[in-house]
Symmetry: C3
Subunit: 651 residues, 3 copies
């Protein structure tokens, strides 16, 4: 890892979560370390939920056990990422300060017994978390095994608190955003159901037993994302006061918690994910999203070895090399560390039947030796992996605001933003380097920006930046369902969009947001254009039509229209088209022609090819290439094996 | 409309719900009115939820905005139905009187933020609602645009309140009905689970976490229907004190709220409905039910234009003329007004993606011009529509008590009264004028009364009236599953029915309430009689058998038995037979022979034919007829186009 | 019945639940008795929920009505089992002592209105229940109609109470079991999520809104099973103080309530069950389980006559002789009484549409006369039924601990212990006498013990007893998924089992708990061995392999291994094999060869054959047999009719 403690060599690392505090058995620890070495594991994550081990009783702080384990790790040349235990305050703390328990919407408080059931607005909870974080950093930052820090675990606003601190914070959040209560009323159309408030303090957090205004729901969730960000920022600040090593927080594949905002003060983007057998589709999407956030290598902090098991073993039997591919994919896509959850199956408690590298009785999982195989690979192509980046001319917008908005208002029935975005458009990009960027991200470096389902364009100055981007020569493909809502789920009233009609030279005559077979379209050259889900029909006002509707109410209206603006062009898409047709609009050649089960990533003058569907694949090489992993040479139309990897270097 | 303000011409009207208070923009209002005129819209509904616009703060009452809009409407010859805003008291009112919030079954109160979350037993709420209603009536009853009043919106006991007022009211309701607590105990079989109470005040409202006595559940719901009726009666009284124009309350297609009781003091029956694409079946049933209630034209106060969207656009893409047919059907069946919900899509808040006549940015919906088409039709056949009624010799019982009863006790598994009633028997009546009547309705004017699934016959004096009806020459077809329960879901103990065995001359030997293929039957003439769901087998005691069981335990018993009584006859049906076999028992000729996708309604010497399944239909004309809409002449076997209407006048 | 009051003749009895207190009508009672006699009903159950009839107001105790009914029964030679009404304390009692209402997990109390919503830890509730029980026993134990007692009804810890008594009792229960809080922490791995407690009183009952430690959930349920046992023990003690007649408590087919523990002080095992049409599979399993508990005849206290109907008629139309077979099966399997629920359909209240012997209006159910048929049979073979027992050489473990454990931790996804156990292994035993025994049961009398899915072997000294059993010559077939968890759902850490590897001479190399088609196996002789669900692969350490994996990660490892130990042998099974393959391991001949739809039970030198799938069956008789029911003689391959019974006595 680039930011690794100088005491360790720079390399691609493989790791696992380690909970030695559970059994506290030296023989076991020695055995564990020996087995880690057998597999090529070079990093462990420790301390995550171990508050009661660090501080058995209030003030009785003792890190000697963890230093002892870290000493053993250092001897074995295994690096340590140490975690703050903020999700699991001990019972003695809750007994003394019961007010830190989160409040449910009905006013009842949550109960001790699991994780993350605490209020992140609570001053006492924050104080205590900062206290233990400082003590950890103070006690361990000098340890030579240490290479980084993780604060908290899988923070998320999916479950929120309704205490008076949160209510007050929410009112303040809304006041900061809307300035006056009448502005909020006007924005939210409050007159309609007589939903006017006396002032910001009069606003009630949205309970689930009320048919709430969706803007209220959405803002409440966004507010909690911000509370969480403040919370982890405080934790990170405590660590940074004692240590210059990289700090981050490990997040789940959900966007209720804003990645850009949450990682603003982090040194490294951390990511946890668990997948169905053979399903590498979403991870691939997430890696394209994580990489540009800080434009440097991300860490996969958690992923499965074999079966998952929050409640029972699930997510399928993993055939040969599934674990191997799962280890390779993030690294190919720009990560520098892949960690398994977890090293040893738990012998008691929650998540009892979650698979791990070792069983509860310390025996290797059936597929554990695929870790060794990946580790050997990474050593072989270390130079390529450490010295190249994934560079892209194409960006697609993938937006936290769209994700949140479509939870609370649905312009289409059962709209699953992630599935829809992946299935329609990311999947088509398997043979391209593509960056998924959120709205705050700079667009100036790209040649093409694609923005499907980007409900809100007018945030973070993106509207102005996109206009400039096009003006200066970029191609912007926008729609379907883009620029249709403000960031608070409110529609525009002068036109269906904030600025797109004017900018793209169109007028939206008809909009039909319902699936039907009756509406059809063709490209200008007569090729059929499969469309679906939603249908916007344009008349032209400076644009030229690329494709038109041929039936029903929309007959003759344009479905795809293009306008030259300055040195560039904007293309508006009025229906859900296929990935192939989207590529036709992009008009750029892939890295190689290949079968669709092969992910291609260009790294410098190398191309990493990964077969992700457990069947043979095909690649057409335009030249002679050498596979760095096997040292064999290839050219022309070649075969790539099921679940295998090739690192193709141009000869 | 017959009751329209004298300042407007008598006509069939088309309207829409209008919420000008949300944007308060004169230019927009002018544009809206101009577009209404383009479509032939002649009525708007206003004020429905606008309490905070009428009374911004306590006592600060101001109707000038609404008068201003009404002035504009009047200028444009658009009539106004004004509404009371009782479902949405403003926040300032709840802040001052939090006790008006409804109480949930666990004792928590509901929360401000939506509609209808208030206790209709609350004296303060009632007082405040009466206050605003009086102020509205006082302020607006002189306005020349006004043609009617709506109080409340979609009142229903589906969500009820558990406050002390409701509890007390419930005890009093039970006392009024059962007189003594021991009578209630005997009636409810309270001894069985030791469910005896000390007195009526000792009775607890039924919480959903208790496995309650079904009679308790049913009476609790019926009690709330009565509370709601009292509530809207108070509102109507306030209006009537200032205005002679018609007043009503718009109800949904559910019978938890008793239509006869609720409309007793109303001047007009109002109805809201939203349907799946192409599904005109249930509306057709409801119109046959609504029309006889007051025996005068009803108003459809809400229906969809295109897509519904409480949460997302749904209920299907509407093919050409779906909206046109949806506008025609209630008028053909005896309504005089059809109103869309709503004029302009909301730009914020709940129901954001519900379709409307105009989009949020004021553009016509794709099918908006079908409104104009219907409007033109109504002008063409105005005389027929205004001067004729739908008259029927046949009535079918459709009962609020059965509807409620089958919610709490189910003599058959998964018995859906509405679906069952429609699918088996109403659907068979498409080529007949038929009235659906509830048990309080007079039966003396009919020749045939059909009573399937009429769980309780012995209420509102119906038992005696049916005996008299038969005695005097009527035909009563009764069953299956009729006369089997009292109005409180209690069975009779001497026989399976209250009086049917004696009256119809049968003895019920065997009852099997389980679906099976093993039980079969035939008509006396040997024609197979398909039966199902439930099987009552009769021996005869004065009746003659029309059809018999031929297999299993019931072999040889009668399944349909008929007895002459006085000048008429009673026919008892012991199993669920088909609509066709029911028609065989009725023995009356249809208006015309026609294909089943055509609804025929006789109006004077005209017949209105409506194709409701979007496919070509067939009608056999016994004579020469002229279509008033096209002025073309037809005879013999003719074709009616998909989703089209013919108004056939005998030449 | 063996324990019948001496005033009645020893016989097999048929009975029904009777609730004369509901209507209190002498004519009706006389009619009921006359109809009972017609059907051969010789026992009624009375008093079950009739507290308010026994004690109308506090202290106003009066049993004259029940004595009166019992007099009538005695005159008719119908015996009475009298019940305590503890599930339904009257409202006056709850009004005076509201604290007896159970507390829900959120602290709210339950509400009067149904059954069993009371806290069984409550001292007042216990006192009042003991009071009424003593009064019943005192008042009725001298009555000559009386033949036994039932306390409570369907007691179960599925719904539990969270009051302070229960919380305190739970802490004490855990203290008694784990001794020190640190021992509990170590056992439960509490350090992992910082779940350490200050002391036992610091432990909180597990609410459902917390992601609880599964051991906490499991112990909480087990604690309530013990509370329930204490509760019914107190009731039984009150009865026994006045009466020597047999006492029991009627339990449902669930094992959350431990059968062995609950019946420890009972005189007779009572059982209630309700089944889908034609489904005699689970009852057959339960009878094999109930019979060995006390090694004497059990009572079926409740079963359906025709349809069930907690909420509507369901569980299917019963074809001819379904009720007859349902009456015979428990008697053949070792019961001495079969009672229907219930005599007469309720006319009001909960369970309104539950079928019965008579309808609410006193008419015979369509299949009521099958009761008479069974009654006549029992008289014919009275001597065989009364003088023989079901004896078995084979036992299978069926474990309450496994049942409970698999609710809270699932080593396989969607593991339904009952279905799995029945479908895989009990079903294969239809032509064998087999005892299902729980872990406390003595194993010394058997030749073969089969223990599949027996998660915990190390409880009740079973581990040591099984070792001794094998040592002395028994065959123990163990697995899959046996010996894998302690009784508190905690895994072993040295090996996947507590002792099985050492004892059976194996080492478990690989464990894969996921279904897959990729893993296959064969017997040593090359016969394919179908396997599934979970895959443990063994290397041998003293055992010999009987079957091996042939593919994937496990190739070459043993799946079934056998070791000679002392005079016996242990066979370990590593995957889910078929019932047929399990029988191959057992290696014993069936009673007769027969088709699989025939249940065979050996009783002395007789064999009772029952066809349970409503289709013709086949039996191969090795000799000449006489059917005691028809007196016909048979030999060779014979046919048994659909839903019929043969009592075959060797000539």
């Amino acid at each position: 890892m680039e930011l690794l403690n100088a005491r360790f060599q720079r390399q691609i690392n493989i790791g696992a979560a380690y909970y030695p505090e559970v059994l506290r058995d030296d023989a076991l620890i020695a055995d564990d370390i020996s087995k880690m070495k057998q597999l090529g594991i070079s990093v462990v994550r420790m301390g995550e939920f171990a508050w009661s081990t660090m501080e058995e009783k209030e003030g009785k702080v003792d890190f000697s056990f963890f230093r002892h384990v870290m000493d053993k790790m250092y001897e074995a040349e295994i690096a340590v990422i140490f975690c703050t235990p903020s999700p699991t305050p001990p019972k003695w703390l809750i007994n003394k300060y019961p007010e830190i328990l989160a409040t449910k919407e009905n006013g009842e408080t949550k109960q001790f017994g699991a994780r993350n059931d605490y209020c992140k607005s609570s001053p006492i909870y924050r104080e205590k978390v900062k206290g233990i974080s400082r003590k950890i950093a103070e006690a361990l930052s000098d340890h030579p095994a240490l290479v980084g820090w993780q604060v908290n675990n899988e923070i998320s606003p999916r479950e929120v608190c309704f205490c008076s601190y949160c209510k007050k914070g929410f009112s303040q959040y809304l006041k900061d955003k809307y300035k006056t209560i009448d502005a909020l009323h006007a924005e939210w159309g409050a007159n309609r159901w007589s939903l006017n408030y006396a002032d910001f303090d009069d606003i009630l957090p949205p309970r689930s037993d009320v048919w709430n205004h969706p803007s209220l729901n959405l803002e409440w969730e966004r507010f909690h994302s911000k509370v969480n960000t403040d919370f982890i920022n405080e934790e990170m600040k405590c660590i940074k006061a004692y240590s210059a090593l990289p700090v981050g927080t490990d997040m789940m594949p959900i966007m209720e918690q804003d990645y850009y905002e949450t990682n603003a003060n982090a040194d490294v983007v951390m990511f946890n994910h668990y997948e169905q057998n053979g399903f590498f589709a979403h991870p691939s999407l997430w890696y394209d999203y994580l990489r540009p956030i800080k434009n440097k290598p991300f860490w996969v902090t958690e992923t499965q070895v074999n079966w998952n098991g929050a409640h029972y073993p699930e997510f399928g039997f993993r055939p040969e090399n599934n674990c191997y591919i799962n280890t390779w994919l993030p690294i190919a896509k720009g990560g520098e560390l892949n960690m398994y959850w977890h090293w040893r199956e738990h012998f008691a408690g929650q998540e009892l039947y979650h698979g791990a590298v070792l069983s509860s009785s310390g025996r290797f999982a059936y597929n554990a030796f695929e870790i060794k195989k990946a580790s050997d690979d990474f050593r072989k192509c270390k130079d390529i992996l450490l010295n190249t980046r994934v560079q892209s001319d194409i960006a697609m917008h993938f937006s936290a605001t769209a994700w949140r908005t479509f939870k609370y208002v649905q312009p289409l029935k059962n709209l699953n933003y992630l599935e829809f975005f992946y299935d329609r458009y990311h999947k088509a990009m398997r043979h391209y380097n593509v960056d998924l960027i959120d709205t705050p991200h700079d667009v100036s470096g790209y040649k093409t920006v694609i923005s499907p389902f980007l409900s809100c364009v007018d945030e973070h100055g993106l509207k102005e930046r996109m206009m400039e981007f096009v003006e200066k020569g970029g191609t912007w493909i926008v729609g379907p369902m883009s620029d249709i809502l403000k960031d608070n789920a409110v529609k525009y009233t002068n036109a269906p969009y904030s600025f797109l009609e004017d900018f793209a030279g169109i007028y939206t005559q008809i909009q039909i947001p319902m699936e039907t077979e009756e509406i059809k379209a063709v490209w200008k050259d007569g090729t059929p254009l499969p469309i679906g889900k939603t249908f916007d029909g344009y008349t032209l006002n400076g644009a030229e039509s690329l494709a038109e509707y041929t039936s029903s109410y929309l007959k003759g209206l344009s479905v795809i229209a293009q306008k030259q603006v300055g040195k560039g062009k904007v293309i508006v898409v009025g229906s859900v088209i296929s990935g192939e047709d989207m590529l036709r609009l992009v008009g750029v050649q892939p890295i190689f022609h290949a079968s669709n089960n092969v992910e291609l990533t260009k790294r410098g003058d190398c191309v990493i090819a990964i077969e992700i569907e457990n069947q043979e694949g095909m690649i057409e090489l335009p030249d002679v290439y050498r596979d760095v992993l096997t040292d064999k040479t290839y050219s022309g139309k070649i075969t790539i094996g099921a679940f295998s990897v090739m690192v193709l270097q141009k000869e």
